[in-house]
Every structure is written in C-alpha cells, then in structure tokens.
Amino acid sequence: MFCSFCGGETASGDHERCRARLSLIDPPRYCAECARKMVVQVDPMGWTARCSRHGERTSAEAAQR
C-alpha cells in the first residue's frame, strides 16, 4: 500500500503529516495500490481521482468508508 499524499510506501517512513494534509485540504494524488500519480479533478463539492491502471475513486466513495 502507498501513501496517497506522498506516494511512499505506507509501511515505511513517517506519514503523519501526509495523513494530516489528506484529512484537511488535499485530495489523494497517488494511487494507494500502485503509487502512480493520478489525474485528479477537484470541483466545489468533491473530487475524482483516476489511476491509469486501477480506475477512478471519488470523494463520495471515500466519504462512505
């Protein structure tokens, strides 16, 4: 698994600041499954993030988790 903010492996390194940013002001930028940079569209009420390999995630799905 990879950090959606910095793209590093979640198992190694400190991602506390990454998590803080993701919880406050950042949409995911890296695919959690493969660490590819995703194409992210932010709109006033949400976001979509698409990995070329693993498909699209949306803020609506993320909110349900």
Binding site: I25, D26, R29, K37, M38, P44
Partner: protein
C-alpha cells in the same frame, strides 16, 4: 503598559500617536486607507494588541462595507501543466509536483456552478492554469459562460492569466463580470516568487480589465518569505489598484514546489495581516481564499470574519479542498452575517 510614548513593544509611536488610534480617526471615521508606513506599524504591533486591531478592522468593515458577506465558489477548468514558474504553485509544469493535467468538461462545469449557487453564493469563478488563454480555452470559456448564464443565477468571473486587449474585450462581451488576476506579492518581492513573467505584466492585464468595465479581483498569498515591510508595501500597492475584491491566501507549502520547505503561516500573524489589509482598504471586498484551513483552523476563521474579512470562498479550491460548505454557512449564521444577495451585486 501603553503610556510610554516611544515604546515600540506596545506599538505606540511617539508624536504621531498610537497607530490604532490614528487608524480609528483616519480609516474608520474618514474612510481613508492607511499608508505603507502606517500599515507596517500595524503589522509590527505586539501580540497582545491583536484583538484590538481585529476589533477595529471589523468596525471599519461594518461601517464601510456593511454586514453582508459575499460568497463565492471556484473551479479549475484546466488544471496543471502551466508553463509559468510561480514558486508556490502545484500547477506549474516546471516542478515535480504530483498534480497532473486535467480538463473539466462543460457539463461538470455547469454542474459546479449549480452546486455553488445552491449554497447562496453570488459569484462563480472559472480558473485555468495558463500563462494566458489560447483560442481553444477562449472557445471553452465562451461556451461555458453562455451555458452557465443560461442555466444558473450567478455572476460569472474568470481567472485565465495574462490577457491581450482582444481577449479582454471578448470576455467582457461574454458577460464575464469580474476578472481575477493576483499580483501575488509586493512588487519588490515578486522576482523571488516568479521569474517567467513580471509584476508589471500582471498590472497591465488588470488595467485593461478595469478599462473594459469588468470588476477587478486582485490579491495574493501571505507567507512566501516576504518581510513585514514588503507585506505593507503589497497592501498599499493593492490599494492603489483600487480592486473591487482582494482574495487573501495563506501559503500552502505544496510538495515539489520551490516553496515546499516554507512554514505554514502562523494564525496570529495571518490575522494581524488581515486586519492591516482591511485598514489599508476600508471599502474593498476582502475575501478569505486558500490556506485558511491550515493556517487558521475553525476558530481562526471566525476571528478573521470578525477582523476585517467580508467574503469567503466556500467549498473546494482548485487543487486543494476546503472545509465542508455547511460549516461555513453555519459560521455566518452564528455570526449573524447575512449572505450578500444577487440583486445587490448587479
């Protein structure tokens, strides 16, 4: 504490008198903004006078602008891949930023405008990460603005970088009512922030926008390594421009950008800057824009609203997320600040 007439630690300045007392008479009573030297004095006030400075800025805002708050939503039509090198910007294609290029289609653009209007917002700003628009973008704007104006009750603003006279005229003819183009920082600090174009080029676009009858929206970012003197310089340069709106952003240190290593501006510092900007521009719409979530948090947002701010961006920004819209609307209700109505802005 404040009796010593030359005690800089208390913000009193001898013969000229205490800066907040001076501001009360000059700005609150007469509506005349502070000079550069005066703004600097405000920015140098000691921490214990922050509350007082905010209270005065709030009085000034209520007196010269009234209690209404102008609410706006923004959306990125074209994200990333910009050829410019603004050192704070995650959308520059010159840095190793995680932000990849993306285009918003017309349907999602119109949907974004509808969702923004539902919040009570009167302004919707379409933004593109470009040096200036090319024909493809101008055409998308033409189609998009027409669709929004046909379907949504909201003022449409644009932010598309530097413009030619022809582009200015075309945007005005499309019914774009306000144009955003930030000077970003003091003229003397600009070369430390951007090297691919000049402050003066930005200034020229703003003059053309004004001459064409569009409203001018121009602000910047606090916390990009500028000195307090440069912050004062910037406030006064903005005041000279006489913009209809000034969006105030606080630096978000974005990964991959040259400013990634800078600190997030501190809350008290940001609040005093808000008060100082209000005292420099008593009659301008002063808007909370990006970075307030990191710098100020929820409590600081309220303090800013009670310290000179009279407009907000609700919802998400261009590449960053805002706090939930309901939270901002509840805050305005708690503060008993009505949302400015559309018919008041036309």
């Amino acid at each position: 504490m404040t009796t010593a007439s030359t005690d800089t630690a208390t913000g009193t300045t001898g013969e000229r008198g205490d800066i907040l007392a001076v501001a009360r008479e000059q700005v609150l009573e007469r509506g005349e903004g502070l000079s550069e030297a005066q703004v600097l004095e405000v920015l140098q006030l000691p921490a214990e006078r922050l509350t007082e400075a905010l209270a005065l800025a709030h009085e000034v805002r209520m007196r010269w602008c009234g209690p209404d708050v102008e609410v706006e939503g923004i959306v990125s039509l074209k994200t990333g891949g910009c050829p410019e090198d603004c050192h704070f910007c995650s959308q520059s294609g010159l840095f190793d930023s995680p932000v990849r290029a993306a285009w918003l289609d017309k349907d999602r653009l119109v949907e974004a405008a509808k969702q923004t209007a539902k919040t009570g917002a009167t302004e919707f700003c379409i933004v593109a990460a470009v040096r200036g628009p090319d024909e493809k973008l101008m055409e998308q704007i033409r189609v998009g603005v027409a669709a929004i104006r046909a379907e949504v009750d909201i003022n449409v603003a644009c932010s598309l970088g530097m413009l030619t006279q022809d582009q200015v005229d075309r945007l005005a003819a499309m019914g774009v009512h306000r144009y955003n183009h930030n000077l970003e920082t003091a003229r003397s600090h600009f070369p430390e922030v951007v090297t691919t174009h000049t402050w003066e080029e930005r200034w020229e676009t703003l003059q053309m926008v004004r001459a064409a009858g569009m409203e001018v929206c121009c602000g910047g970012i606090v916390g990009m390594g500028e000195s307090l003197a440069q912050r004062a310089e910037f406030a006064v340069q903005l005041a000279e421009l006489e913009p209809d709106e000034v969006p105030m952003n606080f630096l978000i240190p974005n990964p991959g950008t040259p400013f990634a290593h800078l600190d997030v501006p501190q809350g008290p510092d940001a609040l005093l800057t808000i008060a100082a900007f209000r005292l420099a521009m008593p009659k301008t719409v002063l808007r909370f824009a990006g970075g307030r979530e990191l710098t100020l948090g929820d409590l600081g947002a309220e303090q800013g609203m009670l310290g000179g701010i009279n407009a907000i961006i609700v919802g998400n920004y261009l590449t960053n997320l805002g706090r939930p819209v309901e939270q901002d609307l509840e805050m305005l209700e708690t503060l008993k600040m009505p949302i400015k109505a559309l018919n008041d802005t036309l």
